[in-house]
């Protein structure tokens, strides 16, 4: 049962083929026996999960339940969970047990879903390889010498290795889509503001967005519908209706206008990855879509602008970690400054410190206009490119990341090389657009993802187009050899 999709598990639970307790226990056993190889989970909430599963079974026996009732889900360790340790991959929060749950967690609880545990991630979601985690890297289930991508690397690996049917992630610059691509699963970042950020530990608040990760688009539709919606507790939450995303999955995409940004096929793109994306484009042509080349002229500036905006916002967001109210505190502080400085120097890892330094520098007197204000202007130009493109096309297609999974350690000593991992994903965050990644092939037995980017609040069309692709291809059904075994 571990290799079934969320939709298939939901039907099986409804048909009484097995109970949520049986399913949950099976996955817990599987995590215990296999996760030593991957390090995908930081916390396994066994007792809590079995309690939730038993409640879900009881609710189901009484009658009408949500489609996700009794479905086990893994949550990225960035979402606060009442009474369950939430570390954000950092020593700073190694001892942090939140006194409340994130809005997203409450939605899953309300639907009767089961929380299996909390997944590993780059520290404070800063990384593209899951190697900045205080708890050690996650290994890619397709090749354990390689990274799973990041920052939602634990979530991606857990879903790919069939340790969980679905997981939650967050995407500030590609942190759902890039690990989804590298682990051969399907993951989506909706429009900025679609899902509440309340209780999601902040990295860069004008970019952060949660989203679902699963093994099919059908599953994403089901999950996204639950996760979305207005939340007065998040000041940037969008007040817009949430459509039934599953209802439009089977619409025909005959005549759908898909744009191919020429800048997304520049030098640096792995030829094998490029071939997979070309093949996906050809598949869309067969499905009746109208393909045309478009240009996003400012997209080469996405990475530079992002690495001002994101660290600047991070440096302010992370100022709250001071050793006073919760989290790590240094021993025997001699004065207040010593308390702050030693607490932060001990609690944060190298990459987080580097981003705080860059962010503080770019916001400091004399540099604000040249860096932060300049980056916000470039951000507008990048967004305007998309506005222009969506006048003539409905969706954009391109690679998710420049190459398949790379070996552990390959980019850790070169931050800029690591940052370029997100060269094709960052623009959607800067513009706030919805985007997803789905499997589109294998290169050297490592998965390749294709990315679709949609217009604001047009998640339904994005999911529809992606589902139509999965109806005629089998890439999303490929599993790593370990994940396919019993």
């Amino acid at each position: 049962m571990h290799d079934l999709t969320v939709c298939a598990l939901s039907s099986a639970l409804a048909a009484g083929e097995f109970s949520s307790v049986e399913l949950t226990q099976h996955l817990i056993d599987r995590i215990k026996s296999l996760d030593g190889d991957y390090n995908a989970f930081l916390t396994l909430s066994e007792e809590h999960a079995l309690q939730q599963a038993s409640e879900a079974d009881a609710a189901r026996a009484k009658g009408d339940v949500h489609a996700l009732c009794g479905i086990p889900i893994a949550h990225k360790d960035i979402f606060c969970t009442d009474g369950i340790r939430t570390s954000c991959g950092s020593k700073m929060l190694d001892n942090f047990v939140p006194p409340y749950s994130a809005a997203l967690i409450e939605k899953f609880d309300g639907a009767g879903a089961v929380m299996l545990g909390k997944t590993n991630m780059d520290e404070f979601a800063m990384g593209a390889s899951n190697e900045t985690s205080f708890y050690g890297p996650v290994r890619n289930p397709w090749n354990t010498d390689c990274v799973p991508g990041g920052s939602s690397g634990g979530s991606a690996a857990a879903v790919a290795a069939c340790l969980a049917p679905a997981a939650t992630g967050t995407d500030t610059g590609g942190s759902i889509r890039q690990p989804a691509a590298l682990c051969g699963i399907t993951g989506m970042k909706p429009t900025y503001g679609r899902i509440s950020r309340y209780g999601m530990i902040a990295f860069a608040s004008s970019l952060d967005q949660a989203g679902p990760m699963a093994r099919s688009v059908e599953d994403l539709a089901l999950l996204l519908e639950l996760m979305s919606g207005h939340d007065p507790k998040d000041s940037t939450s969008i007040d817009a209706d949430v459509p039934d995303y599953s209802a439009s999955l089977n619409n025909s995409i005959e005549g759908l206008r898909i744009g191919v940004p020429k800048e997304y096929f520049s030098e640096g793109l792995n030829p094998g990855t490029a071939a997979c994306v070309e093949r996906a484009i050809a598949e869309y042509e067969k499905l009746g879509a109208k393909i045309s080349e478009i240009s996003l002229p400012h997209s080469p500036l996405s990475v530079p602008a992002y690495y001002v905006v994101a660290p600047a916002e991070a440096s302010t967001n992370l100022s709250r970690f001071d050793g006073v109210r919760y989290g790590h505190r240094c021993d025997n502080p001699t004065n207040l400054n010593d308390l702050y400085t030693r607490t932060r120097s001990e609690g944060f890892g190298e990459e987080v410190k580097r981003r705080i330094l860059v962010g503080t520098y770019s916001l400091s007197a004399g540099y604000y206009d040249a860096y932060y204000r300049k980056a916000q202007k470039i951000r507008r130009l990048i967004q305007q490119d998309f506005v222009q493109a969506f006048k003539t096309v409905d969706l954009l297609i391109g690679p998710t990341s420049p190459s398949p999974a790379f070996p552990l350690g390959a980019k850790t000593s070169d931050p800029v090389a690591m940052y370029l991992e997100d060269i094709y994903t960052i623009a959607a965050n800067l513009a706030g657009l919805p985007a997803l990644s789905m499997p589109a092939g294998l290169v050297d037995n490592k998965p390749v993802g294709v990315q679709l980017i949609g217009n604001y609040l047009n998640e339904a069309q994005l999911l529809n187009a992606a589902h139509q692709f999965q109806c005629v291809t089998e890439w999303h059904q490929q599993r790593p050899s370990q994940g396919a075994s019993a």
Binding site: V97, P98, P99, T191, Y192, G193, S206, L207, P232, T236, I238, P300, L301, V303, P304, A305, Y307, V308, S319, V324, R325, Y326, R329, P333, N335, L336, N337, D338, L339, Y340, T341, R344, S345, R354, I356, L357, V358, T360, Y361, S364, Y367, A370, K374, A375, Q376, K377, I378, R379, R380, L381, Q383, D414, P415, V416, Y419, L430, A431, G432, L433, Y456
Partner: protein
């Protein structure tokens, strides 16, 4: 633009971070690599462009000025490193 050792020391102090003197040189070099990448922005003329702070150009929503939070002092202080009489403890600030 690039930074030198004294710039990094100043920024670290503003950030309440201590940098090990053995690693300062390496930190300076990596920050300069990042700044060199970021400086690609300077090639674009943005004089007439309005800065974008929110991707949907949304402005901060206001709510009615009413107390909605419950008093959860005990739950919040239960996870604090040091408290006394309902207060968070920090090292002595004034002698």
């Amino acid at each position: 633009m690039s930074v030198d050792q004294s710039d990094i020391e100043k920024v670290a102090s503003l950030s309440r971070l201590a940098i090990d003197s053995e690693t300062t040189e390496q930190v300076v070099q990596k920050v300069n690599d990042i700044l060199a990448m970021i400086d690609q922005m300077q090639a674009v003329d943005t004089d007439a462009v309005e800065p974008m702070t929110n991707p949907l150009d949304a402005t901060q929503r206001l709510r009615a000025d009413e107390v909605t939070e419950q008093d959860r002092r005990e739950a919040f202080q239960a996870i604090a490193p040091a408290t006394e009489a309902g207060l968070f403890l920090v090292p002595k600030v004034i002698d």
